[in-house]
């Protein structure tokens, strides 16, 4: 888990999906690159690398963020959760199962980001309607255009989750 001799590398301790990692990384390393290239957690995807597409969405302390716009070294001591941390093929998170059931993807590249946003949305003050879900999901782009099925998948899970009233 240690990078090759980088003269500017700094020690960084991260907690990802409940596991602690001690690394030496270049300070420029984004959380996304750190997850993918150093921890080999490749479920989080790099789309635009500028916070515009949402493919890199992960949770930090339970809140969704664009991991491409975070420097990994700034998130020591925080609880980072990736798609690998919310479910496994033999034990899917209800949102993952709903995406499968609703056929909420085509190529699948944006899907982990969509699901990380959708899981976070369950705890956010999002209204009941499809239009509310669309607004809350506007930070996750799907080039295949699976949007109607993504909304359907999220709404199917929400029917089993008490919607939160706006604060």
């Amino acid at each position: 888990m240690t990078s090759p001799d980088l003269k500017d590398a700094i020690p960084v301790s991260l907690r990802v999906n409940g596991k602690k990692y001690d690394l030496r990384i270049d300070p420029r390393t984004t959380l996304l690159d750190c997850l993918r290239e150093h921890l080999h957690l490749t479920g989080s995807k790099k789309g635009c690398d500028h916070g515009q597409c949402g493919a890199c969405t992960v949770h930090i302390n339970g809140r969704r963020v664009n991991s491409c716009l975070c420097f990994a070294a700034m998130h020591q001591g925080e609880e980072i959760t990736t798609i690998e941390g919310i479910g496994q093929p033999e034990n899917l998170h209800p949102m993952q199962a709903a995406f499968v059931a609703s056929d909420a993807y085509q190529c699948g590249y944006c899907t982990s980001g969509q699901i990380m946003s959708a899981v976070a949305l369950l705890q956010e003050p999002c209204g009941r309607d499809d239009a509310d879900v669309k607004e809350f999901m506007s930070g996750n782009i799907c080039r295949c255009g699976a949007y109607p099925n993504i909304v359907a998948a999220i709404q199917s899970v929400r029917q089993n989750v008490k919607p939160q009233k706006p604060a």
Binding site: P27, D49, N66, L69, F71, M74, S117, S138, G139, A167
Partner: protein, 334 residues
């Protein structure tokens, strides 16, 4: 991306002392504070921002939203946009601020972006973001490619022959209408800056966007108590329904008594080189009946000084209609 040294400030004083070593507090500074990073990291990837030192201020005790004894509100510099927008006191007393923040960006970005960062958000002018193009804001003296180029989304108010870049923030527009005060600590102590004086017009120095000096740390923002009986809202017009910058927006705070507007605070977004407070519009509204004709006079006054570019002439009428409609909504019987 150029490499940099990442440090974490132990306290405000250390952050200020470190940042004071920079020659400027503006874009291009060698030392930058980093909060949410949503603007800064994006621009570092584009080599538009090339700091040698980043000072992480996220763990400074600047993360509180608290009611003030006078009925106002204090908002810490690193309060996240999401937390601000959904705070019960903001929703209750400063609707315009909540609506403005929630109309911008995405949930992910609002979870990261901070109050102070949003105040310092950089323009989305594509020539500023593209280092192969001339841009007086990024490279003083290199020229403005936008004036003769693609300028549909750019400013029509407060421009100069050197820069027509729009201030992209929604939050700032609401803060302008709410007459917020920006509190800063620097090497010479503390000072308070009315938001109207915080951002500066581009003039001959578009690289300078605020009155901040090297070492200045925004600590918090205060809002005066909401005006009794006032209603406020934010109306944003854009090319798509979500996750898009304003072509024109209006933040209005109005008080109506017996059909007469007794107090109005108006700011426009998407059209100005800074958050555009319009005292001209306020003057046309105050002590006048809340009618379409009066709203139209106010809108005409707000846009009187507009200087459209080759592709954004439509913004003059769009901004007027935006303000008229916002006033109509804000003055309708509840």
């Amino acid at each position: 991306m150029k490499t940099f040294q990442l440090t974490r400030a132990a306290d405000n004083a250390q952050a200020i002392a470190s940042a004071a070593k920079a020659t400027t507090a503006q874009q291009g500074a060698e030392v930058r504070f980093i909060g949410g990073g949503t603007t800064l990291i994006d621009l570092m990837k584009l080599n538009v921002e090339r700091p040698q030192t980043l000072i992480d201020i996220n763990r400074l005790p600047l993360d509180k939203i608290e009611a003030l004894p006078d009925g106002g509100l204090t908002i810490g510099a690193v309060v996240r946009n999401s937390d601000l927008a959904y705070h019960p006191l903001v929703r209750k007393n400063y609707t315009v601020l909540s609506e403005a923040i929630l109309s911008g960006a995405t949930v992910q970005l609002r979870n990261m972006a901070t109050t102070a960062g949003n105040l310092l958000q950089r323009t989305r002018c594509m020539y500023f973001r593209e280092t192969s193009m001339p841009c007086n804001k990024r490279e003083p003296g290199s020229g403005c490619a936008a004036i003769t180029g693609v300028n549909r989304s750019l400013a029509i108010l407060g421009t100069s022959e050197h820069c027509i870049a729009t201030n992209p923030s929604d939050m700032n527009v609401a803060l302008a209408a709410l007459e917020a005060t920006i509190h800063v600590r620097g090497t010479k102590g503390e000072r308070s800056i009315p938001i109207a004086d915080f951002h500066v017009l581009p003039g001959n120095t578009p690289q300078r966007e605020t009155v901040l000096e090297p070492g200045d740390l925004i600590t918090h923002v205060t809002l005066p108590p909401s005006a009794p009986g006032s209603r406020s809202l934010y109306l944003k017009l854009r090319d798509r329904a979500s996750y898009e910058f304003a072509l024109a927006s209006a933040a209005v705070v109005v008080t109506v008594a017996n059909g007469t507007i007794t107090r109005a605070r108006i700011a426009l977004g998407g059209v100005g080189t800074k958050p555009w407070r319009s005292t001209e519009a306020e003057g046309e509204l105050t002590n006048q009946p809340a009618t379409q004709a009066v709203f139209q006079k106010a809108a005409d006054a707000a846009l009187r000084g507009a200087k459209p570019q080759s592709q954004n002439g439509f913004k003059v009428e769009l901004a007027k209609r935006c303000l008229v409609h916002a006033l109509k909504l804000a003055t309708q019987a509840a």
